[in-house]
């Protein structure tokens, strides 16, 4: 367990207990455990890391990188449980393929091959399954990565939400490329490849109880092409790559700051946020920094490469709205700060679980 400053850290006291799932958490898994915030973190630390501990896993990056016969392989897995299965901009199939392709890209790897494991619920329409599978193929072909193996299981009606998909993948990391959260260093610039919170808001608009009309579609996309351009031009000057999926930009940067032992300072006025996303966040009282993204990545580069990185991103179809949003500092360690639009300063912390809409 990594040593942390315990002031205000609820995890420390609980983790000192011998029980792997401390009583404070309750006895069951809650939806909040999947939210990407503190509870997700603690679940990983308390349950998974405790059992699976090994050097590759301890990096806790999107994928694991290890040496095999002189080459560096990247290996990643991602599971998708989204509801509804089909949404503007994509479906569970394209999301799953893009998800793992992106995880590999975030390791600095060129994706080579994917597997697809599907758990189908009894009663799922065959036409829906065909649609999803066709979408997976289109996504894979679009990314230039074949799906080479797979598995299917069927569960009883009522046990499955339609379809659950796991996609795993392997890739190759070129020599000289070292992408790791630990490489973030003071002076580095933080970039985002485009507008934030789009996917999360697009999905939320379909959710029971929160429905609103919008033209927003999920921005799910394969980022391996974009990443290849960046790495090809800038090589080891690219220090960290990560896609801010669940928990949003805030949670992802918080993780990186903690893993690297650095401080990150963002400027609210520089965050690229579209009008509709802002409107939705205003109605629901949501902070776009905590809303899930797809088809977007955070890039932390050496200061001297920042201008070129931004130009390369903007020249790519998936990076047109890219922006420099912040900087890495030595202090305060493990902390993300934000300079608000009006010039005030505040902390950007991890949420406990999911962000819920506010009424006031």
């Amino acid at each position: 367990m990594s040593a942390k400053d315990t002031a205000g850290d609820p995890g420390a006291a609980l983790l000192a207990a011998s029980c792997p799932v401390p009583a404070g958490e309750g006895e069951t898994i809650l939806l909040a455990h999947g939210g990407g915030g503190r509870m997700t973190q603690r679940l990983i630390e308390n349950v998974f890391l405790k059992s699976f501990d090994n050097p590759a896993l301890r990096e806790l990056h999107d994928g694991a990188v290890f040496e095999v016969g002189g080459a560096r392989l990247a290996f990643s897995t991602d599971s998708f449980v989204i509801s509804p299965l089909f949404f503007p901009g994509g479906d569970i199939g394209s999301l799953a393929v893009h998800g793992t392709v992106n995880d590999l890209a975030m390791c600095g790897a060129q994706p080579l091959a994917l597997s697809a494991g599907l758990i189908l619920e009894e009663g799922l329409l065959l036409s829906d399954l065909s649609r999803i599978v066709a979408s997976m193929q289109a996504a894979a072909a679009g990314a230039g990565v074949p799906i080479v193996t797979g598995d299917t299981k069927v569960v009883d009606r009522g046990k499955g939400d339609g379809v659950f998909i796991n996609v795993s993948g392997v890739g190759l990391v070129a020599p000289g490329i070292v992408i790791s959260p630990k490489r973030a260093r003071p002076g580095d610039v933080v970039l985002v490849s485009g507008e934030i919170a789009v996917h999360g808001i697009a999905i939320m608009s379909l959710r029971e109880g929160l429905r609103f009309e919008t033209t927003l579609a999920s921005d799910t996309a394969a980022l391996n092409g974009l990443v290849a351009v960046l790495l090809g031009a800038l090589g080891e000057k690219v220090h960290v790559l990560r896609d801010p999926t669940r928990g949003g930009v805030a949670s992802t940067l918080h993780e990186i700051a903690t893993q690297a032992g650095v401080g990150i300072r963002l400027e609210e006025v520089r965050l690229p946020i579209g009008e509709e996303v802002r409107g939705a966040c205003e109605i629901l009282g949501l902070d776009p920094l905590y809303v899930a993204n797809e088809g977007k990545c955070l890039v932390i580069v050496a200061r001297e490469a920042a201008d070129e990185a931004l130009a390369l991103l903007k020249a790519h179809p998936l990076g047109r709205s890219a922006a420099a949003i912040g900087e890495v500092f030595a202090e305060p360690r493990g902390t993300v700060l934000l300079k608000s639009r009006i010039g005030g300063l505040r902390i950007v912390d991890l949420l406990t679980g999911e962000q819920l809409p506010r009424i006031c």
Binding site: S205, F212, E213, T214, T215, L216, E275, E276, R278, G279, A280, E282, I283, I359
Partner: protein
């Protein structure tokens, strides 16, 4: 129950207008939990900027740092 549509930066949502019957399309409203509860007065909306301008003219915005008395 009079219902209508409100746009928040392009996102549209159906909202109840029972409490703001005077509102016409094009107006700006304050929405809370699915109800329009107040019509925004555009003229009053600019007051804060007029105040800032006056404060500037009165020299109330030129304060040497740090604050007096601290």
């Amino acid at each position: 129950m009079p219902m209508g549509v409100v746009s928040f930066g392009g996102i549209t949502k159906e909202v109840c207008f029972a409490y703001t019957p005077e509102v016409v399309p094009g107006d700006w409203v304050l929405v809370h939990v699915g109800f329009a509860i107040s019509r925004l007065d555009e003229d009053h909306a600019l007051e804060v900027f007029r105040t800032l301008k006056e404060l500037g003219e009165l020299g109330e915005l030129d304060v040497p740092q740090p604050a007096r008395g601290s």
